[in-house]
Amino acid sequence: MKRTALLTILIVALFTTAVAAAPVSIRVSGWSAGPEIEALMREQLDAFEAQNPDIKVRYEPIPVDYLTKIQVMLAAGNAPDVFFVDAVYAPQFMATGALLPLDDFMKKTGTDPDIYAPALLDAFRYEGKIYGIPKDFNTMVLYYNKALFDRFGVEYPTKDWTWSDLEEAASKLTKTDGRAVDNVYGLVLGKWPPRWLSLVYQNGGRVINDDGSLAITDPEFMEAFRFYTDLYKKGIAVMPSDVGATRERDAFGQGRVAMAMEGGWAIPTLFSNYPDLDWSAVELPMGPKGRGNISFTVSYSIPKTTKHPEAAWKLIEYLSGKENQIRILTSGHVLPSMTELFEHPHFADAPESRAVMAGVPYSRPNQYGRYSQQVIDEIEKAFDAVIVGKIDPEEALKKAESNLKKAMK
């Protein structure tokens, strides 16, 4: 009799614990930027699960064609409960109502939006609501090769440089009278527009006006575009392929160019792939209208179709919270989106990272309205047309504008 009672208790206990522990299961997706980044993500999720035993997280990294896969999953109502949204296509997701606004959750859990750098959070604001919490960011900086500067007796760049300082240094740092493989150039250019649209902002121009109309044939835009492409025509700047490199950071790392305007993402590459290179980085030079930069950021967002919005928010709150941001910033791969952490002691000996962070306050997000991708593609074609096709910059931009106007109807 005693045994039966004991058994009953045990069975009941078994069932109750099973019910109590039945965890909510959520899925999280991001692109996969290599095994270290994936391992870092798993580490963060494990820490979250340890703190929240009632939530199980399944990590589903997407190695290629991230956007395509997310689009199809959203259309099929099968999207992960938390996923990365790049600022560049965030407007499309927000405008079509694919994402869940986070304001109510933030109020409930007392998350103050002002702890995040405003330039970053603004990328995920639409009609007054917040649709994503920036997880990290990058801006553009001016990388310089100290050895080449020393060799040509040119003073290192400072954050107070202007466009004319840049051009003057580039011409002093160009040496093309020897064998082709020994040629050195002042600057490497990149055709991907976000690499050089900072110049437009430094010239007081815009890509898209606040009302959504195009500003790429405004004089401010045209002048900046002409300044940038003229560096190439004058022979003091090159494309990576001209010096046998695939990427801008490789042309710089191989010592074929003295300077590169590149995102902070090049810092880990330069340290790991070019350990002997003597280099540093400063804020971008100032244009005729002062400072300007582009911030590249990615959010954690929740799709409207999720069945577990509460659990999804809990995960976002954890991932973008202070404890976790400190964990990932010390990993050396990313910069924190919380303004307070810009002063973290980890950055005391990292002038390059500090230069990247200094660009945030005066940056604009890397997004160009609902037609971001078309806008970027058309501007890139205009750049190609000038560099490869030897077309006049203004003519190339007018063509881009007319193509875009048709597509944006």
């Binding site: 259309a75 499309q92 694919a98 392929s241 991708q373 490869v388």
Partner: protein
């Protein structure tokens, strides 16, 4: 008798059994081909970004593409040019190869296999290898040309060269397939015809021109039709090697469909482009059919 009546297969209508065998294929075709094609036709009359519901816009997508869209017409031109470069070269080389591997030589099976290998290799793998061959600085092709003091050429990044570079690769990839078809055609021509021609004193060239080529005409027709369809749909090599660039010089209709759908979120325009592509291929096939039946009579 009793044995027969309990046999379940005997009780079925005899014509039902073949249908059962092809049922999986029919289901597959209906669910994964016909239904999506039908939905795509409907979508071509809508504006649809895959996130919000489709919005009916009538023929606006077709009007947009056909009236004032430079990129569409460039893509159509690129597609036609690509086919016109790939097909004749493919036919000439595959016929030559077929005649060669049709000889009774030792080890001919080895060559047949080698020439066929590119066909069974994935287009993406082939593209990766050819990107290396075409590489501006370290590529095999420029290294070889360099020995003769030629080049270097920027095969994939020069807007005047890129489409031709893709066409060369595509010919290399495709000749094995047509070689096999021509080989089958050649082996179907009775030997006595050639014997008779030899007795009549016809030279090898005359035999080819007067016998082989005309007798292979149905095969050639088949190759042209299938080749046009497949080159008009080319996508994989462009996606892997040039992404439609530089300066849209390699954007074909197939690639344009992808770009509209998955980069620009314009599923409606992408569907409309796909149906125009279908229309073009359909019209070309009809025209060839008319032309060939007139020829053959």
């Amino acid at each position: 008798m009793s044995v027969r009546s309990t046999d379940p297969y005997r009780r079925l209508n005899p014509t039902a059994i073949p249908y059962l065998f092809i049922l999986p294929v029919i289901l597959f075709t209906v669910f994964f081909k016909f239904i999506p094609i039908g939905v795509s036709l409907l979508l071509s009359f809508t504006e649809y970004d895959m996130l919000s519901s489709p919005r009916w816009v009538g023929i606006a997508n077709y009007a947009y593409l056909l009236s004032d869209n430079d990129l569409f017409w460039t893509s159509l031109k690129n597609t036609a040019q690509y086919s016109l470069e790939v097909l004749p070269a493919n036919i000439a080389i595959s016929l030559l190869l077929a005649i060669l591997v049709n000889q009774e030589l030792k080890g001919v099976a080895f060559f047949r296999t080698v020439f066929y290998l590119p066909v069974v290799t994935s287009i993406i793998a082939v593209s990766m290898i050819w990107m290396w061959i075409y590489n501006y600085q370290v590529g095999l092709l420029n290294s070889i040309l360099g020995l003769f003091g030629l080049g270097p050429f920027d095969w994939l990044r020069n807007p005047k060269l890129a489409l031709h570079s893709l066409a060369i690769m595509r010919v290399w990839k495709g000749v094995g397939w047509n070689m096999v078809i021509y080989l089958a055609g050649l082996q179907g021509i009775p030997r006595y015809i050639y014997e008779a021609a030899t007795i009549d004193g016809a030279s090898a060239w005359t035999q080819f021109r007067r016998l082989t080529w005309p007798l292979l005409r149905p095969v050639t027709y088949y190759i042209i039709v299938m080749g046009l369809i497949s080159t008009f749909q080319s996508f994989g090599e462009i996606y892997a090697m040039t992404q439609g660039g530089p300066l849209d010089s390699t954007t074909t209709l197939g690639y344009l469909v992808y770009q509209q759908a998955f980069q620009y979120w314009e599923m409606g325009k992408a569907s409309a482009t796909a149906f125009i592509l279908f229309g073009v291929i359909f019209a070309l096939s009809i025209a060839q059919n008319k032309f060939v039946s007139a020829e053959m009579n």
